[in-house]
Symmetry: D2
Subunit: 281 residues, 4 copies
């Protein structure tokens, strides 16, 4: 582990992967200095990707939100989300019927672009589930937690179908010092109650990194030429370490400076580098 100047760091890699929340943005908007850094990468014609645990919206919308905040260089094709992997799974493995989901209609819309039909658990009649061929956890919003989480439990007791968790995160920040339970946390509760094994997509699982790496195919990029930038040891750093690429922990999000060393020691998750943030002069 070495404390490092971020600019020197990115100069020594050919491709950069960024986590989104805590690295590029926080609950107040885009983090200071990020626009500058991304401009620098564009000037250098250095490819970068945003690798994010998010299944609440498609890559187009994720890019659009950055554009609204004045960051136009994050185009849709630069965004890789856990929701995209879930959608890939559904496309390959579930070819008929209707997918029940917990989430907003908007999150389901993204799934429907595969041609699959969906039904919100909220609108589901448990006595009419013959066409339901899967269940996917998309978002913590868009349904009544009490009524609909219980409905999901009973759906899984009545019918043996694959269950997909499209975002492994168990919580997310909503304000300074305030978090909310994410759909991954809800999925963990349901999984432990029904006793079945769910399929999860998102960091730290290596599949999202592999998916991103495949986009570089044909460009002759080796793994040791890629740098993952993340604010969370247990997702960004361990996942990218395992995938075999170098990692930098930034202190602008989930891991404050005063806790970084202690957490690296206590978890045994060791980034190659540590930086204050991705801002460069």
């Amino acid at each position: 582990m070495q404390y490092t100047n971020f600019k020197e760091l990115i100069d020594s890699y050919k491709v950069i992967f960024f986590d989104s929340f805590g690295v590029l943005r926080n609950h107040k908007g885009v983090i200071e200095g990020v626009a500058n850094t991304l401009n620098y990468l564009d000037e250098q014609q250095k490819p970068f990707y945003v690798v994010t645990n998010d299944a609440s919206r498609g890559r187009r919308e994720i890019a659009a939100r950055f554009a609204e905040s004045g960051i136009s260089s994050i185009t849709p094709e630069k965004v890789i989300s856990s929701g995209m992997l879930a959608r890939e799974y559904l496309r390959h493995k579930i070819k008929e019927g209707r997918i029940a989901y917990l989430g907003t209609k908007n999150s389901a819309h993204y799934i429907e672009t595969t041609g699959l039909k969906t039904r919100s658990i909220h609108d589901l009649d448990l006595d009419n589930i013959d066409d339901i061929t899967g269940l996917v956890f998309l978002d913590d919003e868009g349904f009544d937690w009490n009524e609909d989480i219980n409905k999901a439990v009973n759906l899984l007791r009545r019918k043996n179908i694959p269950v997909i968790v499209a975002n492994t995160d168990v919580n997310y920040p909503v304000a300074k010092n305030e978090i909310a339970i994410a759909v991954g946390g809800i999925a963990n509760m349901v999984e432990s109650i029904v006793g079945k094994t769910f399929i999860r997509f998102g960091k730290p699982d290596a599949q999202i990194f592999m998916f991103t790496y495949e986009l570089l195919e044909g460009q002759g990029i080796r793994k040791d030429e890629i740098l993952m930038v993340g604010d969370t040891l247990k997702t960004d750093i361990i996942g990218a370490n395992k995938f075999g690429i170098d990692t930098v922990l930034v202190l602008s999000g989930n891991t404050p400076a005063r806790k970084a060393e202690m957490r690296i020691e206590s978890t045994g998750i060791i980034p190659n580098y540590v930086c204050e943030s991705i801002a460069i002069e």
Copy 2:
């Protein structure tokens, strides 16, 4: 393990402990034959207790519900609930301030009989928590799951207070083949998200059996003269086994006859006896 006639069984013990749900009642009401069996125990002047994971109401109300169903011999002093143990904890260990709770106002009323003040998480202002000295999970009803579970998470991030789970059950049956997530399941989710250690009361923990056993003090009853009757291996049977009393699994609730042997084998939780139900001729 021996399949046994329930009447012969109770004739050979001096005191009987009954689980409530699945043994004495189910989602349709009091189980057939139960009245007869309890009358027989009363005729024999054989003491019995109802040992139940329930924190949604006090022992008086639990007894009253049996009385409404025509079972008058379950008097309040025969009922031992996990909620009583939680109340004991609060009485001994939290002597000032106000206890925040997740549950109905009715469930909190029971806690207030200790003299403690309470506040529903639903009514709690997170910016005004100076007087909050504990959090207790009482019931899965009485609050908005989405808003108030998240509020509980953030309360625990702002203030380091003891957290009590007054019912360890993770789910409960609401109809044939339909369950609901219980407050113990919600507590597990919150605990894993905040990373703290909660204090749990209820079977399988031996404390509830000890508490019941103490009621027999002075009567010279040995542990091997007590029989625990339960329908669930993972709570009733393992807990009573560990406490050192004999156990009978009845097949009228959570463990259907066709699954009993397989579950005993796969869990390694071995009751002394197995009976169809507690009904006697």
Copy 3:
């Protein structure tokens, strides 16, 4: 939580429960000042007990080891060990056959005082297990880990018998900055591999505190007149808190001064008091 003078503290309680390792002794022997404190308690005729997770020897031997180190006031009847609870369980629940064990012959000798026959897993022939009626984890020594832990796994696959873990500790200190895996850690591995539910005795489980409390029967001691002294939040403090007695964390063992506050905050396990050690002037 209040930082307190230990002498004032014990003056305000009628009975003191001490953890052993980290409070009374460490890897170098009896901790400085302990003799003095125990003498003071004796002068005051204040009862105290040593409540310890230990199944490697009986209470007589535990007392004898203190006596060898010059502490004669810890008589056998002042020692309550998790091994004693395991022995109670075996006495109440397993009345015939032979108990297989992992541990030293000496640890088994203690079990045999109940009249039960035992057999070391090391000496067990897996093709001759008809008389084996239980398995107990007693000590991490006295057997070949590779051969005999695997033998225990296969015993449990061949025969459905109760399994008792007589010490829940997963590790223990053997020197400054050096630990060893304890029998509780080995039991956790075996349990997860065979998928069965084991019965565990020892702190933090409240049963060991109840067992000790019962020794005070007839003396009219209320729970709020008892103080538990421990060096470990996750065993001594949470267990005694749950049992309903007051707790003091001492910094002479497992919880060094520099980590105490952080650990109390991160675990949510809150002692009533914190003291440097039990030494008094």
Copy 4:
């Protein structure tokens, strides 16, 4: 789920992935009919791979063992093992120093082909660990469990280094109805005792499937043209499902016919097909 004729099944896929143990071989040797099936695939010029959780030896040795049993068509380049992924990790992420390992000298030899130096935990002096830059769990043999597992625990307490588990399996069969704890089971125990996060390679993790899939690069094979053949729901089937390829459960190994349906129901892990074995007429 459909019960299917295996020959028809493989006729409808372009590439076949086989698990090894329980599919191709068992404790008695190569499973009956396997030679015939592999010959058929060769005749059809249909590529196949052996995807196996094994870090005790290199692909050359794994192939050699099949050759000794008369199966010559499993050449080294057809074997993908979890040990290969671990070796890739070490090659990319640990470029200097010496890797400590638990396993046989032979298992370490395979790691050394990356140019890395190794040292058996058995030969390690805990006071001389300056050059140790990682720890890898390779095999359950080749060391003294008691002494050396404890040494691994203390190594990780003294030095914060990445820990790699090169085989996630927690046990493996050694005879009919007899299993042994695998290195993955030992790693789980050590991880829970030191409280750090280890990096695991092997099924069910999707990385081993991606690694194999990359070998097909340039051949224009789509995921839906690949079939994974496995005997274990929790590794082979869930992992390949998640990766997005079709799956067949064979009943020649870990999942006997009488338990298949119940396990599919209770785990929610659903193969596309079920076959008795891979034998074809």
